[in-house]
Amino acid sequence: MRIEGNAVCLPPDIDTDLIIAGRYLRTKDRSIWATHVFEDLDPSLEARLRGSVIIAGKNFGCGSSREQAAVALKEAGVVCIIAPSFARIFFRNAINRGLPLAQADLSCRDGEKVVVDFSAGTVTAGDLSREIPPLSPRMLEILAEGGLVEHWRKRR
């Protein structure tokens, strides 16, 4: 699996309240989550997310279990998130929603082209390259099939 996108740089410890605020959770309309993603961090971010690879600091997605955070990012067009570490519930949620995550500590320049190659186990941003630990075979299957719901439906 190989993913390309333009870098959007974010600081460490981005919590799920910052990804999608509690006041927008009471709906099933995903477009609302996508519209308000990162609103409390930087309202101008949303417009730059389509086709983007987020390169963040450590502990991305900490805080609540709200799966709307992963859905919001995917709906807004984020194709992959790279961070040195992820909060564990967010990690599972993202994989379950078909949003790939790569673990790497990478310096980031906004707009730079980023390539994530899960088969080769590398991420490349500009002229920097890093190895990434492999995702488990089950996680790769879930991602390839577009999420846990589709994965489960195929195997029941």
């Binding site: 605020a21 959770l25 564990r88």
Partner: protein, 404 residues
């Protein structure tokens, strides 16, 4: 030589295991997405309705037509499918599961990050997202990576107005907001065994604020006596006989009242250094600090006095509220000028019943002070119940016991 997580999950740290879960619960917030994902699975029946719980606590009673519609759909489904259902006013999901349902040695999953609260009973209790929960509804099981464990040793006893919450904020600060990511915490030592179940739940509640999967206490005589009061006879768990990946030691006599300042749970200061910070609101409650022990402590400080800042008190459950009414501490709290709201999450996540305005400052006994969480442009300081009580009386941050 295994940690409690390894014992319960039956495999060494680092292994991936599939395990049936003993209890699975959602609330009105996460239940909506879970139901949507579960319907997409088209799996037929819920695998174990008798082990599946839907507990309304996040926005209760409903605050808008949209919320009411979503709750109506989930309520109808839960009752129709024969799930355990608790409606508005019964209390916070973690508290209700901790009132005689969660048992030592069980594997418990909740669609809420603070499910780790139930580790207080010697259970492996952890938060999951909605789609994971949907598959658990369909199959009765899920996968876990058995976590490595940080051993946290407490020795001695808390003194004065220092509480389990001060202890919890102190260990979170020592570990940092991602200090235990992908790992479990075990709370051990004589300082832990002296703590009540209410206090242990406070301690375990904050485990996720270090990134941990869960925080666990070994079931002992205190656990057994507590559960016996709910008619559950349980065995205690053999004390730890393992080495930990990392160990932290705390002398409880050295713990002092602290406050986590906005916007990070791991950034604490002694209350004494923050005295005088003006407050617009005090909030006492939540899955961290809304139990009877907390309300009792709060009442003992405000009894016969008047709060000088608007103060909201939310009991963690109907049982807590009823106990508070029966023993009279509820009257003390009301007479002090506090506003008591229905058992539930209250304004903790900024949805209703105490949202703060731009530029306002709230001192809260909850577990998160993230930017804008309780209202856009508002700031949240996190403290113990005693500090909240002293500060409510002063109208500004104040040290508990400072006027004695």
């Amino acid at each position: 030589m295994t940690t409690l997580s390894e014992r319960i999950l039956g495999a060494p740290a680092g292994e991936y295991v599939d395990r049936p879960v003993d209890r699975a619960y959602v609330h009105d917030g996460t239940g909506v997405l879970t139901l949507e994902a579960w319907r997409a699975l088209e799996s037929g029946e819920i695998a174990s309705p008798d082990r599946t719980y839907v507990l309304f606590d996040h926005i209760i009673p409903a605050n808008s037509s949209t919320t009411a519609d979503l709750q109506h759909e989930l309520r109808k489904f839960a009752c129709g499918a024969g799930l355990h259902f608790s409606d508005i006013g019964d209390g916070i999901c973690h508290q209700l599961m901790g009132e005689g349902t969660a048992l030592p040695g069980e594997i418990i999953v909740g669609a809420d990050s603070h499910t780790c609260t139930l580790g207080a009973f010697g259970a492996f209790a952890t938060g999951v997202g909605a789609t994971d929960m949907a598959v658990i509804w369909a199959s009765g099981s899920t996968w876990f990576r058995v976590p490595e464990t940080v051993g946290i040793f407490f020795s001695g006893r808390l003194s004065g107005h220092t509480e389990a919450k001060d202890l919890a904020l102190t260990y979170v600060s020592r570990l940092g907001m991602d200090g235990a990511t992908y790992r479990a915490l075990e709370f051990i030592g004589d300082g832990t065994t002296h703590l009540s179940m209410d206090s242990r739940m406070t301690l375990c509640n904050l485990a996720v604020e270090t990134g941990a999967k869960t925080g666990l206490c070994y079931a002992d005589a205190v656990t057994a006596a507590y559960l016996q009061s709910f008619g559950e006879i349980v065995s205690t768990q053999a004390p730890p006989s393992c080495t930990y990946e990392q160990e932290l030691d705390f002398e409880l006599e050295d713990i002092i009242p602290v406050i986590a300042v906005p916007p990070r749970v791991d950034t604490i200061f002694p209350v004494s250094e923050l005295c005088g910070v003006p407050l617009d609101q005090v909030f006492v409650g939540t899955c961290t600090n809304g139990r009877y022990e907390d309300l009792s402590r709060f009442a003992s400080i405000v009894r016969g006095k008047k709060v000088r800042v608007r103060t909201i008190v939310a009991p963690a459950s109907r049982a807590v509220l009823e106990d508070a009414a029966r023993t009279g501490i509820l009257s003390d709290i009301l007479a002090a000028g506090c506003t008591v709201i229905p058992p539930g999450c209250g304004p903790c996540l900024g949805a209703h019943m105490g949202v703060i305005g731009e530029g306002e400052v709230c001192l809260s006994t909850a577990n998160r002070n993230f930017r804008n969480r309780m209202g856009v442009g508002g700031e949240i300081y996190l403290s113990s119940v005693s500090t909240a009580a002293a500060s409510a009386l002063a109208g500004e941050i104040a040290l508990p016991g400072g006027d004695e």
